[in-house]
Symmetry: C2
Subunit: 346 residues, 2 copies
């Protein structure tokens, strides 16, 4: 999501208060630099971690050959879908921090930044929100890139307490078993009414609750040391309100996002081909400022669904997901609106 | 310059009040579409004209073959230096409106948007600000892309009134005789103390006055129907203030702009190679939001100089041009600060 949406992301907990320790895997980066005899190295951090960039560059300078130039990406970054392709193409080694590969590539060193926070104390607390395993042993387990390194341990821990733990990898967009992304919760398509999310912030579990409104999503947040239940009502109400507002729209702006992992070309093209009052607009960052340049009645965002669901109210006109657009123009019953998920890679 | 700097550009008059008529040269665009049998056509407008995009797309749809998909660039655009290369590479015909070629290319149709405003009434008024030609006949003449189509007529008009009109093309970055860009005033390197700028807004003549503080720049603005003298004092004072503030800086962020015509790689690299407390940061839009992610004491912007001079105060830390940086670190006398100009293309 865009730089100017930081405020909202803060509310959903993506911006974390605690100063955690991360594993920057400097050895692995230096190894790649030496192997490729690199002279230019690009470093890309997601928004919440950009401040760490200069320090990481310093640490790398100390251990890397002298003639290496390190370049920090100043582009906004909100996921593994959001690679700085400019920097990637113009550096010998390109390191993407904070996410796991959406698609493996020799040109990219992914450093997921595993957290060293112990998840088990807060998991212990979260058991109060799960049913007694003797009555209902089924529970799903999901986490984010930062805690994936302990996923097996977490599974074992729950099993040792009598739960039947349901996990799956999801689809091609996800690297690992049990992993969730802001736009993809296929790993929670499991036969359990409760899903335990172990990880920092509310951004991911709220998305999960929107995608699976029939499930109870228990949040065990080892970073903020808090247990809670993911609420999605406010977001769903906003979605209906936006669709209603857009029903009168004549002129539609159809956004095609040019970020490497956020493009849905067929979806965008199909809309403009079937609506003579629709205009295709291409951009990387989808921000209120940029859309204000276009005198449309409503927008359909075929890019990141979380901009639509989380930041929609910040835009000057209603912004819908492709599915919501169908409802607004009467091609889909209003009660069949679903959370917009992203599959595939690029 | 960036989307969030719109406020300041408005002040320097780039955002024009009058609803002018432009020549969109639709015939030439349709010709290119037919010649190349194009199915995807990209349209890019600069910020002040983005609102016209959908209407131009409508007009083109009426005259172009049915199977053509038109795509509007939603990326910020502030000059011929600022092409939407994503759209350019992915469309069969890419039309860039509002600017003349910084570099000719078969892949780009440039439509400069010539204005149909008559420049002579306001030029008549501006004569009051020029010396009597019998005492001092020398005057320079410059204009922007929008009025270049009448540049010869303007020259003739002044000559008929007894002036010796000095014009030159400038350098490779400029397409035509007498043309100025926000970052390049080589066309005003002429032997005359007064330069007449005929064109809309103050953005260009203020830049000219900063680059040539020894000359008087008379503005004949046929769009806002106003004559004035370009003032640059306020900007120059701000520059000295920024340099002074940055003199104590330890950590420097060195911005390398990734826009096609705004990159000065050697300049950026030289700074980081010679200052161990300098960090190279790459980005396309240079905005206060993006730089706030970096905990630096000061920034050097090797990209668009007008972001530095016009929008500098909007950033959380002092931002300097490469020349000002030399003054701040003591490698150049403070009184030798010059307006930062851009040469070459890409």
């Amino acid at each position: 999501m865009s730089g100017s949406t930081e405020g909202d992301l803060t509310k959903t907990g993506m911006s974390l208060k605690h100063d955690r320790e991360w594993d920057y895997e400097l050895d692995r980066i230096v190894e790649a630099i030496e192997e490729r005899n690199a002279s230019k190295v690009g470093l890309q951090f997601p928004e919440g971690l950009k401040r760490r960039g200069p320090q990481v560059a310093d640490d790398l300078r100390e251990v890397a050959p002298d003639d290496v130039t390190f370049m920090l990406s100043g582009q906004p970054c909100y996921g593994a879908c959001d690679l700085d392709t400019y920097l990637m193409r113009r550096t010998d080694v390109f390191v993407h921090f904070g996410h796991t590969p959406m698609k493996e590539s020799d040109s990219i060193v992914y450093v997921p930044l595993f957290s060293n926070v112990d998840p088990f104390p807060i998991m212990e607390e979260s058991l109060a929100e799960l049913p007694d395993p003797e009555e209902d042993p089924d529970v799903g387990l999901v986490t984010t890139a930062q805690h994936m390194n302990r996923f097996e341990e977490m599974t074992d821990w729950l099993e040792a307490r009598g739960y039947e733990v349901h996990t799956r990898r999801g689809d091609d967009r996800l690297t690992k078993e049990g992993q969730v992304l802001g736009c993809n919760y296929a790993s929670a398509d499991i036969p359990a009414d409760r899903v335990l999310y172990v990880g920092g912030g509310k951004f991911h579990p709220v998305g999960l609750a929107m995608e699976h409104p029939e499930k109870t999503v228990v949040i065990a947040d080892p970073v903020n040391n808090a247990v809670s239940i993911a609420e999605h009502d406010q977001f769903l109400k906003q979605r209906y309100a936006s669709v209603h507002k857009a029903m009168d729209a004549e002129k539609w702006g159809v956004i095609f996002c040019t970020k490497i992992g956020q493009g849905r070309w067929e979806t965008a093209q199909e809309i403009v081909e079937n609506n003579e009052n629709a205009y295709l607009i291409t951009m990387d960052e989808v921000t209120p400022d940029r859309l204000r340049n276009f005198d449309m009645d409503a927008f359909v965002n075929t890019g990141c669904p979380r901009i639509t669901t989380d930041d929609g109210p910040r835009f000057h006109k209603p912004m819908l997901t492709p599915g919501e657009y169908e409802a607004a123009i009467g091609e889909r019953p209003l009660d069949q609106i679903e959370f917009d998920t992203f599959h595939d890679t690029w």
